[in-house]
Every structure is written in C-alpha cells, then in structure tokens.
C-alpha cells in the first residue's frame, strides 16, 4: 500500500534545478574554493601568508591559554525559603498565558525562576498537553522590552506609583464630573479577579462602560446560538464522542477556538481500536493543519461554504428546495450518509464567522442529535468570546466624543483593529495596563504597567464551571502592579501589602470565596476546581427557510482572500516570543514570516513563483506580500496569516523587528461582524520587486524518496494488521558486534503516526528543555536551524475518484487507471492531465507528518566515523553526544541516514547578533541549568532527554526502590496533546513502550540499513474504504 510517492515540496516533486543542486550539497553554501585556487595572486594564499597566519594562530592560542581562571562567587540566600532546595525544581500549578484562555499547566521553577511550562496531566478535561505558543510564551516573562514601572506620556521613565495614582484619579474624577464616560476595554478572557475589580471600579465612578475585545472573533457562533437557543455562547465541543467529524473550514486542530483540548479529544478516536476509528471529513480552501489530518479532504471555496451546508442539510433530510449540489459535489452525499449512520455520535463544525452559516450548522447538529453528546452548551467555552458589535459601537461613540477616558486591560486593539487607533486618539485620557510598549500602550497617556501572569494571582474560567487558578511563581521582575490592584487603587482602596501578603492575594482569595467557594489552598495546589452542571439539550428555535434563501442569494466571485491564523503565532499577541516564530508552520514549514498562500493551478496559470512579491487588493485595503505556493489549496483562493507585522519597540534589533505584514487592516467589518473571508480580490505581481527568500525548512534534510512513511487504509488494516508493512526486507549483515541490551534499562520511543497531527508543540518543548538556540530567519535560510526534533511533512497524491476519471473520459481521454487505488505521482498526473492541464490535481494532495529526531541506533553509523569518539553508545541504548570532546568534523552528520544531527555554528549565548533571549541577562534566566549550553563548533542532537533519565534514576536510587514503569518521560512526549509519542524502558514489561513495541503497526524507519534504531513508528491508517469514491450518484 505504501506505493505512494511522497514529496516534501513542489521543488522536490518537480525536481527543479535549484532543488537538485542544493539537495546534493551538505551545506547550502559551498566553500569559496574557486576563489582560493584562482590564479589571481591577490587572493591566493602564499608561503608568507601561511607563516603569518600560523604564527598569529600560535601566538593567539598561547595568549588565550595564559588567561587566569576567573574568580567565581557563590552567593547563598540570606534567608532561604523553606520549600526551596537549590538544584531541585519546584512545580506550581498555574494557568497558561497564551491566547488568554487560561489552561491548567504546571510551571517548573528553579531557584525562583520559572523555566518551563509543563502540562497539568491531572486536568484531563483539558487534554494534558500544551501547544508550541503556550511553551514559547514563557519568554514574555523575560522580555527585555518589558516596562519597568508606571509611566506617564511624554516621560520615558518610570514615576512613583503614588504620584501616578494621584494623577490618574484626578483625571478620572474630572471625566466623571464632566458627565463623559469611562470605557474599560478588557480582553475576552475570563479573569474573575479582573472582572470583580472592574465591577468595584464601576461602583466608584459614574458612567463606566465595559467592552470586551478579542483580536479574533467567533461571534458568528455566539450570535447564531443566541438566535437559535437564546444563549450567546461558544459551546464546548467534545470531539472524543464523535465517530464522524465534518468540518467546513474550521481548523480545530490548529487555531480554531481551543485546539489543545480538541487535539487530545480528537486523537482519542484516531488510533484504530478493534478495527474502528473515527472518520474525518474536511472541506476547506487553504491547507490547514486539520485538513492535513483529515481522512477525506475536499478542496472548497470558503465563499461557497453556505452552499455546502445547504447541500448537507438537504441530504440529511432538511426541508429545502435548494440542493447546493452543483457546488458541493459528491463528497457531501458521502459525508451525509456517514453522519446519518453515526447519529448523535457525530459533529459538524464550521469556521465561518457568518451567523447564517452557523445557524445552518446548528440546525444540522440538532438534526443529528449532537447536542448533549458532542456539543455542550451548558458548560460552554468562555475564552475568546467577545462580540465585535460592542467594540464597533465603542469606536463610533469615541469618534463622537462620548468618552473622557479609556482603560485597556490585557487588550491591544490598536494593533488588530484598523479603526481603534483613531478612536483612541479622540479620548483625552488613555490608560493602559500593558507590560510592554505595544501599539495601544505606545499611544497611551498613562501606563499602569501590569504584572506578567506568572507574577500574579488570578482565577480564570476557560469553560463554564471549570476554574483555573494561577499563582505567582517569581517575585515581580520589575515594578509592575496587578491590573486589578490598579483599578482598585483608583477606586480609593489601599492596595499596599499587609502582613507580608500581597493585596492581590487577599483580593483573589475573596473573589474565590465569593464565586467559586471551597478550600482555597487546595484549589491553588491543584490549580483547578471543577463545578460543572448536568448537560441540558437546548431546543432549536429558528426556521431555516430565510437563511437558505439568504445564502443562495450571496454574490459569487471568482477569487477570495482568507485571513487565517498560523498555528505558531495565532492572533499575534505573543509575537515577541521568538520560539513561536522559529517553529516551522506545521503545513508550509515556513518560519518567521507570513505570506500570500496561493494554489498551484493559480500559480502555474499566472506564472508566479515562490517569493514573488504581490500586491493584494481587496475592498478593505491593499497589502504587498510575497507568494508561497501551497499544494492542496483550492483554485481561486488566497490566504494571508494574521498576527504578523507587529510594530515593536525601537530597541529590538533582530528578526523580531520585521516580521511579515499586518493583515488585520484587511478584516472586513462592514457587515457588522468581523469577516475573515474577502470576496473578489485582485492580485498583481509587483514588477521590479526583489524575489523574497523565505526561511523555510520544508526541503531541508531530504531523504531521497526512501520507504520512510508507511500507511494503509482502514479496510486493508482490518484484513491485515500488518498492512502497509509488506515491503521487501533485506536481511542485512551487521558490521558491528551485537550488544546484549536485555540487562538494566533500554530506553526506547514509539511514535504513532495516526495520533501525530504535526502540531509541532514537541519542537518548542524540546527546544526549551534542552537549551536549543534560536537561530533566526537568516540562518534558517542557510539551513542551519538547530531544532533537535523536526516534523517532516510529506505530500502524496490522492487517487482520482471515479468521478474525476469519468470527467476525463468526457474530455476524450482513454483511461486505464483504476479508481480508488493509491497511485504513484506519475499515474495520477497522467490520469488528471488528460482531463486538464491546469495543474488542478495539486488540489488533491494528502499529507503525512512524521516527527524525526535522533533514532539512537544500536548500530549507530555516526559513532563509527567520529575520529575523536565524541559520540558513543551507552549500555542503556543511548547514542551519547559528548560536546567537550567534539571537534566539529561533522562526519557524524554526514553519515547519519536520518539527518538529525545539527552543527552549532555560533556561540549563540554570547553573540549579540542572535539577541532572541539567549544572549541577554534577562533571557538567560529561562535556560535549563541541568543541560549544557553548547558552544560553537560542536555537533548536537536529541539526547532522549538524558537529564530526565538520570534524574529519575537517581530519585529511585535515593528512595531505595526499583524504577516504576513510565514514571517520567521526555519533554516531547510530555507535551504532546495527542499522546503520539511514548517513551520508556523497553526492558520493563509493564511499560507502555514495551507493549507498543509488539504492536502490529510498528516499524523502524530505514530498517533495511540495519542500524537498529530505538525509535519505532506506527503505520498511519487512513479511514478510507475502497468504496470511498464510488458512492452512487
């Protein structure tokens, strides 16, 4: 079944000259040998030069060796806190800081410094995983751009809080006295403490208006639910209860609403058990992470989503004369049939922000009986829920001069809303509680510098009835103040610390007692209190007739622009955390940039190439941005990611300064809601613009089309559990003597390609755990990214359907290809190209993700070639890398069949050119003290988190006991929201890994080489039946 031909990028598939050349070379830039050996005397090295350099080198080395050993200080605590043991980490339950949701996490703290987020495995509802941005966000605590204290406009230094408060209070009192209003703009997050403080503040001042603001709107869902059920909420979706999932442009694994939870729920049904797994249909225009994981992915124009929904509604038995079929096509029938069969164990979701689309989705889910099983409107989602109508009303009133003062709390509207900055300028007193200078606080008159979430107390409620507590894990780095305390200080409350407890603590505790109730200390310890209600099923109170006629009367356009979020950066609020940018996009593999994503047919017909700079014009504005060709994207659709183009402070000098283009100004607010789909877009190549080069990892480390990914259809798997594995297996003769690993520990890893979605959280988790440096866009372009763990994304062509083939016959082709067969690229291209030469077949690609890290081969080829024995094997099966021995010949990297070794080109921790965090004093606080910070000139690679292995072994030895099965795991496995990675001791019969190793689906990558890797992969099974493409018309 693995006869598919896989390819990583269009360049590889088409074998462009550039790709072939760069792929043949080990490094992206060759050595300047021609220059050296040229006959030109000026550049030729001669005897005298040799002597000069030799002499200088010898002298320099001698001088360097004469360096006196520096005197080091050891500074103990004056009074050591009881619970701190220097050298031993503490874990505090807290909440995640990205996306303002507040998911339960653990914060790993060393000597008072938070150094890593780890998932809170006990919070099972939330999935026990964490995403890349969540990990990356820890750097926002150690951001050199953080403000040092309260600031007043004009002065760029801090002022005393007492003076500041006096000034703010008098300004606010004047506003109240003048009869104007005070607007409080807060993020849509669910901080109960801030909410209470705002209420208290409102009691003190007259005319306080509270406006929720979120950069990304999901109000289509809340408005539809308000119309349909009378409650304006985003429901909780329970993907674990769905046997059939149909998504229309909702990237629920990547960016839609609450992807970390959806990840773990979704993946529970993705691993075939007793021959069963869930089925996932994705209708979408761009190639999203979710689409990449779908069993059936159907290219669709997002502007046609309404037609698709109508078609599905009708197929499911909804009463309407419209069919929508001419647009939707056959796949809808098939999806409808499977949905019907699954009944209430199904789920239909839609990424449109249009109320009518969402109403139709509600009607469909009601027909299927999904409310109460897969959709929960009782214990609904509370994060990111803000209605842009209220903010639009604020903008209008502000323009009319209604407000005398505005206070922004955890919100940055001037960046993500094109009208906000002008509206703010009309308000005389503008107060921000931001912790850095962002687009909104830059223009503020007063900045009441807040605290980072890791420095403060808080209670959040991401889902109704599920309260997540956060506690300070570090004493404030700068002189900030909790935004709630600031509001209360302006309401005349004395917020100074009493009894050595901060005011924020006492206030948070009182809020807890009034709203949550229960044992506060216990709640802080667990980080989570769950008080949920029994699920009630709402009744639909809407007729679909009007909606359907509205949808059918929508204007049809040739082209559409979709503004979407990228998995790494999301809405851009944490755009100053470089790890999120260095993480390659799971699908496009682009780092550090956004781009105009175009389909292959469009690119071919217009003669566009990657990096051409385009001028994109829509009804809302114009933007110039380079092109990236995305296989799988629907013809006539274009995409630009939001969250880029941040205006960052002047002192930022690295890649963070010029990060893509801001697409928020293109969001269409004209229809009364934020519409991210823009119809009728014109795209023109900017003549004379320089070709832009992306920092893209897609084709780096190519592995030459070998049998690396294995997959099979569910049908084939049912008949034969070893499906997909029947490849010719030679019996290699070993060059090495066998070693008996049966004694002691033998560490191994298993990666389930079915569970892995490619979300890339593991990459960031690994980087933080192992002090992997951030290299920046320029170095990624040179193929020098340092990630120890990468995720390879392979495309392959989906077989053409019967329908496609019939079409081709209509066009006069003479077909011999069987439908439903997995085919080689040549066959597919042949089949399609009879029908059309428009490269439309590029819309139908399927995707496989494969995490790849050091395979810790028992017969490691790298070890054989190291001239200085810097890489050796341990008796526990680890391929050890000893940096202090390495002299940087890179032979090992050359000889590694998996291309997982990385050469460290720079001293990143001391080089100011790489000022991401590693090279400044504040950023260095996040370094893991248990792992060496590597210097330049050495090879490095995945160590299986050997520091964790050693630490777990030591704990067992100290406790005088045997090691328990699975008592620890690696950083990647720990953070995986879908449990795709399992690590453990192969010699322990009770460990999960030793059971997985016996799984029929497991295989080693490149096992024919006989290197005996310690990482096993489990065949990807796609839920596709042979009849998939043959449902009758």
């Amino acid at each position: 079944m693995s006869s598919n031909k896989y390819w990583k990028g269009v360049e590889e598939l088409e074998q462009t000259q550039e790709f072939v050349t760069s792929n043949a070379n080990e490094f992206s830039e060759g050595l300047p040998l021609e220059k050296v050996f040229a006959n030109d005397d000026s550049t030729r090295a001669n005897r005298r030069d040799f002597l000069k350099y030799f002499g200088f080198g010898l002298g320099a080395v001698t001088l360097a060796a004469c360096n006196k050993t520096p005197v080091r200080k050891a500074i103990p605590y004056t009074e050591k806190p009881d619970n701190v043991t220097p050298g031993v980490p503490l874990y505090y339950a807290s909440s995640s800081v990205s996306n303002a949701e507040g998911f339960p996490v653990l914060v790993k703290v060393r000597e008072g410094r938070p150094i890593k987020f780890e998932p809170n495995k006990e919070a099972s509802y939330f999935g026990g995983g964490l995403d890349g941005l969540g990990h990356s966000a820890i750097l926002s605590l150690y951001d050199t751009n953080r403000l040092k204290g309260a600031m007043v406009a004009g002065k760029r230094k801090t002022v005393a809080w007492a003076d500041f408060d006096k000034e703010v209070v008098s300004a606010l009192s004047n506003v109240s006295a003048s009869g104007k209003s005070i607007a409080v703009i807060k993020s849509g997050n669910t901080s109960l403490v801030t909410n209470q403080a705002i209420t208290d503040f409102g009691a003190k001042y007259a005319n306080v208006e509270v406006i929720s603001y979120e950069p990304i709107s999901y109000s289509g869902i809340t408005r539809a639910n308000n119309t349909a059920f009378g409650s304006a909420v985003i429901p909780a979706y329970n993907f674990q209860n769905a046997d059939v999932v149909v998504s229309f442009g909702a990237d629920f694994l990547g960016t839609w609403i609450s992807p970390i939870k959806f990840h773990s729920d979704y993946s529970k049904n993705r691993v075939p058990k007793d021959g069963k797994m869930s089925k996932h249909y994705q209708f979408e225009s761009l190639m999203s992470l979710t689409g990449a994981n779908a069993d059936v992915r159907v290219p669709m124009k997002m502007s046609n989503v309404g037609q698709h929904l109508i078609a599905l509604y009708r197929e499911l038995g909804g009463a309407t004369a419209e069919t929508g079929m001419e647009v939707a096509g056959n796949n809808i029938r098939q999806a409808a049939a499977e949905l019907k069969a699954a009944g209430s164990r199904s789920l239909v979701v839609c990424g449109s922000n249009n109320e009518e689309d969402q109403l139709l989705v509600n009607a469909i889910n009601v027909m299927l009986g999904n409310y109460g099983t897969t959709i929960d409107t009782t214990n609904y989602y509370k994060g990111q829920s803000a209605d842009e109508a209220s903010f639009n009303a604020f903008v209008e009133s502000a323009e009319a001069g209604k407000y005398g003062a505005v206070i922004t709390i955890d919100a940055n509207p001037s960046y993500s809303n094109i009208e906000a900055a002008a509206a703010f300028a009309k308000i005389p007193t503008r107060i921000s509680t931001s912790i850095t200078l962002d687009e909104t606080s830059e223009a503020a008159t007063h900045i009441a510098t807040g605290l980072h979430p890791l420095e403060s107390w808080d209670i959040k409620e991401p889902y109704k009835g599920r309260f997540v507590l956060s506690q300070p894990t570090i004493s404030p780095v700068f002189e900030g103040r909790h935004s709630a305390s600031s509001l209360l200080a302006w309401s005349g409350v004395d917020v100074s610390d009493k009894d050595e407890l901060s005011y924020a603590y006492a206030y948070t505790k009182s809020v807890f007692e009034n709203t949550v109730d229960g044992d506060f200390n216990k709640a802080v310890e667990n980080g989570l209190v769950e008080k949920i209600s029994a699920v009630s099923v709402p009744s639909l109170n809407v007729t679909t007739g009007g909606i359907i006629s509205d949808i059918t009367s929508r204007k049809k356009t040739e082209s559409e622009l979709i503004l979407y979020q990228k998995v790494g950066v999301r809405d851009g609020a944490y755009g100053n955390t470089p790890w999120a940018h260095e993480m390659p996009d799971p699908v496009s593999k682009v780092t550090w940039d956004n781009y105009l994503s175009v389909s292959m047919p469009d690119a071919k017909s217009n003669g566009w190439e990657n990096g051409d700079v385009m001028s994109v014009s829509t009804s809302t504005g114009n933007i110039e941005i380079p092109v990236l060709i995305q296989p799988g994207q629907t013809k006539g659709t274009y995409g630009i990611a939001l969250g880029y183009g941040r205006i960052l402070p002047e002192n930022v000098t690295n890649d963070l300064k010029d990060l893509g283009k801001n697409a928020y100004p293109l969001v269409n607010n004209k229809e009364g809601f934020a519409d991210y789909i823009l119809n009728g877009v014109t795209i023109e190549k900017v003549e004379g613009a320089r070709q832009y080069e992306f920092g893209i990892t897609q084709t780096h480390y190519s592995i030459e089309g070998r049998d690396i990914i294995r997959e099979a259809s569910l049908d084939a798997f049912r008949q034969d559990p070893k499906a997909g594995q029947h490849v010719h297996k030679p019996k290699p003769i070993s060059l090495w003597d066998d070693y008996d690993y049966s004694k002691g520990h033998h560490w191994g890893m298993a990666i389930d390609l079915n569970a892995c979605t490619g979300c890339s959280a593991c990459i960031v988790s690994c980087s933080i755990e192992n002090n992997v440096p951030i290299v920046g866009r320029e170095e990624v372009r040179r193929r020098r990214e340092m990630h120890w763990l990468r995720i390879d994304r392979y495309y392959s062509f989906e077989a053409p359907t019967k329908q496609d083939l019939n079409l081709s016959i209509v066009h006069g082709g003479d077909q011999t290809v069987e439908a439903g067969e997995n085919m080689s690229k040549e066959k597919v291209m042949e089949a399609y190209s009879v029908a059309t030469d428009s490269h439309d077949y590029y819309q139908n690609v399927q995707v496989a993700h494969q995490p790849m890290m050091c395979q810790h081969c028992d017969n490691a080829p790298c070890e054989t070639v190291c001239p200085v024995l810097a890489t050796t094997h341990s008796s526990e099966g680890l391929n050890q890398m000893t940096y202090n021995r390495c002299i940087g010949t890179k032979y090992c990297g050359n000889n590694c069949p998996y291309k997982v070794r990385r050469f460290n080109w720079f001293r990143f921790n001391e080089n100011e050119k790489f000022d991401y965090h590693f090279s400044n004093d504040l950023g260095k606080m996040v370094i893991n003290p248990d792992v060496t910070v590597r210097s330049r000139g050495v090879m490095e690679k995945c160590s299986f988190c050997v520091q964790r292995i050693q630490s777990a072994k030591l704990t067992a030895k100290r406790d005088n006991r045997k090691m328990k099965a699975d008592e620890f795991t690696t950083a990647c496995a720990q953070t995986c929201p879908s449990n795709a990675i399992v690590f453990g001791d192969l010699n322990d019969a009770n460990s999960e890994i030793s059971k997985l190793y016996k799984n029929d689906r497991s295989y080693h990558v490149l096992e024919e080489l006989g290197v005996k890797p310690s990482v096993q992969y489990l065949t990807k099974i796609r839920n596709k039946t042979e009849t998939t493409n043959q449902i009758a018309h």
Binding site: P76, T932, R961
Partner: protein, 283 residues
C-alpha cells in the same frame, strides 16, 4: 610583607644585579687577560685544558647530522613530557586553591572542635546536586547566641558581626532590625567544575555513601578551606574504577545484584555498572 616585595624594589634589585654581573664579568676578563700576558712573559707552555684534550676529540668524531638530530630528539622528548604533564595536571586544575573568603570561617572550629555534622549546614547534600552553602538564617540558629565576645572584651567577634550586618541583627539588643536591607555574603567559590560536567552530591553521598572527606580532604582540620582534589576527569574515573556499588542494600540495584551473584562476583565497580559512559556526566 607586601611592601617589601613591591614592584619598584623588585625592579631596582634586578637593575642592581645586572650591573654587578657586568662588573664581575669585566673583572674576570681582566684577570684572564692578565694571566695570559704573564704566562707569555714567563714563556710557560699552555697546558691543554680538560675540554680540549678529552672531550673535543670525541665530539669531533660524531657525525654532525646525527648528533644534531639526537640532541634535538632528546630535547623534544624531555620538553614534550614536561608539557604533557603540565597540560594534564596543571592547566585548569586548581588543586590547593584557597582564596580568602569574606568571612574567615573556620571549618576546624565548627566541624573539628565542635563536631557539628557537615549536613547541618550543607543541608541539601542529600537531596540535591549542590550541597549548598548555608543561608544566613542557618548561621543565626547558633550565632544568635554565640557571639564569641569572651575573646573580644565583651564585644561581638568582628567575623560574627559580618553575619549580623548581612542579615540585619542587632547583637547588643539581641533582636532583628526591622525593614533592614539585607546584603547576601558573596563567598568565593572554591570547587569549580566546568559547565559541561554534571555532578550530583546526593548521588555520591546518599547512593554511593561517599564520605565528604574522600573528595574534600580533612576539612575538619582546615582553618581556611582549600581544594583538596584535582577535580579532573582522570580523578573521577580513577574512583569510578575502584569503588563498588552498594548493590546489596539498594533495591534499585536488585537486578544488578542478582546478575553479579550469578557471575560469582563479590562486588561490581561503578565503572562496570556503566559509570564511565559519557552521558552519565556530560549532557
């Protein structure tokens, strides 16, 4: 002491000795010249010197190329051996390093004379990778009362006063000073391992049951602590090759112990248990 050996004195001494040496050379030259003049006058035949009669003929007999090579070879071997020894033992090794500390703390008094258990102050040695220098509140457990004032006419010892100044304690009134801005003591670190080597005290003290003195020397006799061991990798390895693991009394080693008995061994060394593998210390 320091004033005597000041730089200017040293320079003056060097100049003086150079001048004296020059005078001496001049005088010897005059003497030789005078002697030869005298002998010439007296007509005495110059007796051939020992060098001219015995050694020179031998050297003249040598092949010049082979001789040069041989001498150069010997020099190279001697210098090389010296350099190797120097590189291995001296470069970066700080054995005997005994810097002056901000407080003249004496282990001889505390650990020797009063026999205070090491772990009382270095309290994390059984839990953590670092034994940790005690925080000042540990000092104050005793020094709130012990002021050694009998030696200083009723005044607090100046060394103990340093603790009080750091933590904010009023020795005369026996109470802590309110809202005092505490200043931590900046000790000079004596044992410096490179960042690339991971060392864990609890591993050695709890699991390996190594005495503090094995690595730190007779600490209870040191007024001023010095680095006792070389702390070089060879030193680590020597110990790992010699010492056995306590497989009998630690359940973690159950399997190891069984295998050992099956092989008829009495004990296995740390090295035999994988204690020389790179990633046990380098990661």
């Amino acid at each position: 002491m320091s004033s005597f050996y000041s730089e200017s004195t040293f320079l003056a001494l060097i100049i003086l000795s150079v001048v004296l040496a020059a005078i001496a050379a001049l005088l010897f030259g005059i003497k030789r010249h005078l002697t030869s003049m005298n002998q010439e006058k007296l007509g005495v035949e110059d007796e051939p010197s020992f060098y001219a009669s015995k050694i020179k003929p031998v050297i003249d007999g040598w092949n010049p190329t082979i001789a040069t090579l041989a001498i150069a070879g010997i020099l190279l071997v001697v210098l090389g051996a010296f350099g190797y020894k120097f590189g291995m033992d001296e470069v970066g090794a700080q054995q005997g390093y005994a810097p002056t500390q901000p407080i003249n703390f004496s282990h001889k008094i505390h650990a020797g004379q009063y026999e205070i258990d090491c772990k009382y102050c270095h309290s994390t040695v059984e839990k953590s990778k670092s034994a940790s220098i005690p925080s000042l509140n540990t000092c104050m457990n005793c020094h709130k009362y012990v002021k050694a004032d009998e030696k200083y006419n009723g005044k607090t010892s100046p060394e103990i006063q340093k603790i009080y100044n750091a933590i904010g304690f009023d020795g005369d009134n026996m109470e802590y000073i309110k809202d005092y801005k505490q200043k931590p003591i900046e000790w000079v670190r004596i044992h410096n391992l490179p960042d690339l080597a991971y060392f864990n005290h609890s591993q050695h003290v709890v699991v390996g049951k190594v005495e503090c003195q094995t690595c730190h020397g007779p600490i209870q006799e040191m007024d001023k602590v010095e680095q006792f061991s070389t702390l070089q990798m060879g030193w680590c390895i020597d110990c790992h090759k010699e010492r056995g693991i306590d497989s009998e009394n630690n359940n973690y080693y159950e399997e190891v112990h069984k295998n050992m008995q099956a092989e008829g061994k009495d004990y296995i060394t740390v090295a035999e248990n994988g204690g020389l593998e790179c990633s046990k210390c380098h990661y």
